[in-house]
Symmetry: C2
């Protein structure tokens, strides 16, 4: 089983308006609502692929109840006293996004989560730690969880940014999967963390991986138009399966690139287009990457 | 008792951001949440004044539960299957507002509300019908409720806009209280509806009333800086008390103008500044208004 962790899930609300005008009043044409958060996107992709998956994390309040109620993936969240956050996206010709920070997590809630997480990790082959942390959690939260998972012999994939990414890298997860901008912003080198692998998503430029087996890159065989949000989460889902199945890295990277392309072709994060997935699987473009000069 | 009706209540969410930029991603600095809707504002003002009040209307879903949980005013809402709406206001140097339309009301829910409303109206001296209608309700909803309230010998104040205001005017409520822009947009004349009174709020220009006792205007004795949202609701609250107590119109209008000014001085809709109220009560500026040429 693959366990995904979402410590700062969200209720994603999308408003469609003819045109967003600053300091005006808008009548919202349509409202779209769904569970949000990178870990939940990974879980939804795995679930749609038919892979055994469990979504866990922290959830609270009426908004948390909305998220859990709408989540079709098997889940077991740890309850918190605070209120799960929302994100509001206003779409006219493009998206304007408002991200709430999330609830303040109490130390005893974080302790309770670590305990629950250890128990879940004991049943998992792979654990995926994705996305931002809510206020109150230590920057090294993913490093702590990486060590707990390893103690239960589970493999770990981390997709994070900033100081959280840096701290996680130091714990040496099996796969560290930031995007190129996050890697650069965290001041990290293009190098594998310990004995693990670094996989960097570069949007339309595909994926590059620094692994114990060497450096590889997966280049898209065709450009896919669509919604890039969630493509990195789809890649993480594919890499989690590859970790579980001990696939060789070129194969893992091909799968990740194909699933990312299929996610771009789908309307919403956490979904993918099976036809695009099939097409990209048929013509993987994975090659050894040149070493940096 | 005064009964306020809010058929399309809301959970008002206010985000503070340094600057709203179209097509950018924003990290929300602070989140403020509270029950919203004109009828609830009227009820909150009445409750703060110590007046017996009951808030009723339609409420549903997790968002409705948030609204009811946060409402300090005595209330009895009719449950609907749909989800109570939200409004999102993004504040930088000024406010950018996104109003959801509200849940679709089923015919049997509207029927159930009318029944519950009749029972409440029987215990009320005055009924206040304020704000927009959710999808699914007929345009003459306030006209229907006006007739039901009258059948129970309750007086009726209506604060609405557009076709809803026009239809309500035809039912001849005791007070019709639009603002000047709403009256003009509805194509209605500055004339009393039937045997009732028309009170028009004109923002900083005060109030004008066309009543069976003649035409009056209340002009603010001083300019109040602050938040004009909710000033009209405060005026409606004062007029409801005046209706109940059969105050003469000049007195009623003076009270309404004073409470509106006190609402402008308070930070949020549904609140008022008691010191400003006291000051404005001490120097009411109500005079007979000239007839239109």
């Amino acid at each position: 089983m693959i366990v995904t962790v979402t410590l700062n899930p969200a209720w994603d609300v999308t408003y469609r308006v003819p045109r967003l005008t600053r300091h005006a009043s808008h009548r919202v044409g349509s409202v779209l609502e769904r569970p949000g958060g990178k870990g939940l996107n990974v879980a939804r992709v795995l679930h749609a692929l038919g892979e055994p998956v469990l979504a866990t994390g922290l959830m609270g309040g009426a908004t948390g109840a909305l998220v859990e109620g709408a989540l079709e993936v098997p889940h077991a969240f740890v309850r918190i006293a605070g209120e799960t956050r929302r994100t509001v996206t206003v779409v006219d010709s493009d998206a304007t996004v408002f991200n709430e920070r999330g609830p303040e997590i109490r130390p005893e809630e974080w302790a309770a989560f670590q305990e629950a997480f250890s128990a879940r990790a004991a049943e998992a082959e792979v654990v995926v730690l994705s996305g931002s942390l809510p206020p109150g959690l230590p920057e090294d939260a993913y490093a702590v969880l990486t060590r707990l998972a390893r103690a239960q012999s589970a493999k770990v994939l981390v997709d994070a940014a900033g100081a959280v990414l840096r701290a996680a890298a130091a714990a040496g997860p099996d796969v560290l999967k930031p995007n190129a901008a996050e890697l650069a912003a965290a001041g990290l080198p293009l190098a594998a963390p310990g004995r693990g692998a670094l996989v960097v998503s570069r949007g339309a430029g595909g994926l590059v991986a620094v692994t114990p087996e060497g450096r590889f890159e997966a280049v898209p065989s065709e450009t896919v138009d669509g919604n890039p949000t969630g493509a990195g989460d789809a890649a993480a889902a594919a890499l989690a399966v590859a970790l579980r199945d001990r696939l060789p890295w070129p194969r893992a990277l091909g799968e990740a690139a194909a699933l990312a392309a299929a996610a771009v072709a789908a309307p919403a994060a956490g979904e993918f287009d099976p036809e695009v997935l099939r097409r990209h699987r048929m013509s993987p473009r994975v090659r050894r990457a040149p070493c940096p000069s």
